[in-house]
Amino acid sequence: MRCFFVLLRQARDAIGYVIALLFVLMLATPARAQITFPSAAPISAGNVIVRTQPTATEGSGGVQSLYDENVVLYGASPDLTFILENKSIVSNSADLFARGRVQELNAIGFGDTVLDTRYVVYEQDGIGSTFRIAPYLGIDIPTGMQNTNDLVPRDLQPASGDWGARAALTASWQTLFWNAQALIGYQNYAASGGYQAGGGLLADAAFHYLIWPADLDREVPAEVFASLEANYTLFTPDRFQGENVSGTGGQLLTVDPGILYSRPKWGFALTALLPVLQQTRGIGGARYDYGIEAAFRVNFFTYHHW
């Protein structure tokens, strides 16, 4: 990455500019779809939920991203939940122009950590239904590796290296046969080393429909849901030395069909991430082609809570 900016600064003649432009065209990645914000669903005091979420995405220019996101949710009280998210084993690769030729380069390492706090501010419960509203506040902690391969641009490194903050408002309406969730939020990053990742708007909507079993008048050991989610992000471009980095930021809307198998102690979900609208700011943005996300969840219980 450093060599790119050195090249950019030193590109005083036409050839240098052309090389730098090609570099930008090869490097820019699309805004990323995100299904990371938990909903306003109930979490009991003392309940610990551990989720691991391997995801693979692919875009134009040979851009591939593989990562495993681990999430730990802890019910500190009936209304207060702490959520720790960490991206581990992040592997990003792309066909990049480096050392005079286009080659596939890879950056592998640990990702960043996010700590969210959720508090349920409104709750309306009925028999087999609940409607809840909960705001989130979270901080992005730069615990990962943001410079594992000098030839790979910063937005393809395993971690951002930046502190960040995010806030969101989420609502969940759950019944025995379907669940609807919505979220709107804002995310921003602090600058470091002259670089600032773009911040912006997050909006998610999800609908889950029970397809098995049909009879709930008994002890139900498991359920299968069909799910359809929509994830929208609208981000400002990344900035370097006060200038926008072309091909970053913009908007991305994905529609994500999936299937969810849920038992009291564990669950499994498989979701496809399909872009229906995408637009980057400036030239050089890579096209987001598709993604696949799996999620495995385990439920624990502890007597320790507020």
Binding site: G46, T130, Q174, L176, I211, L216, E219, G267, A272, Y303
Partner: protein, 126 residues
């Protein structure tokens, strides 16, 4: 290529739908076994529970109340069926507190049999 992948997803969803035949009530476990001598039973209506995933929390919380022997939950009616050990002194407030800790709202509590005849000879209490 993308169409082929979508077709694969659709096929998987249809296969799961085909497997999802309704389970009839008659297929369920036979009549509930009789309560052992000295045990009590109380039904707690719990509002807000919508899936087995959430049953985990309410069953764990009610099971934590001292004197509770077993908890089962009926999703459709939102009723936790709590079996109480002989001699246990559990109050409605204990049960309501456990439900709230589980992040749900307690509804009516109906004692079907109390474990302590000396404390409650009438067998039922609202």
């Amino acid at each position: 290529m993308r169409k082929r992948r979508l077709a694969g997803w659709l096929g998987l969803a249809l296969a799961l739908l085909a497997c999802g035949q309704p389970v009839r009530a008659a297929d369920q476990a036979a009549a509930k076994p009789a309560l052992p001598p000295g045990y009590g039973e109380v039904q707690v209506t719990v509002l807000g529970v919508t899936a087995p995933f959430f049953v985990f929390g309410i069953v764990a919380r009610l099971g934590q109340v001292p004197g509770v022997a077993h908890v089962s939950f009926n999703l459709l009616h939102g009723i936790a069926d709590v079996t109480v050990k002989p001699g246990a002194n559990i109050t409605d407030d204990d049960l309501r507190h456990a439900v709230r800790n589980a992040s749900y709202t307690a509804g009516p509590i109906k004692w079907l049999a109390h474990p302590s005849p000396a404390a409650m000879p009438a067998a039922t209490k609202q």
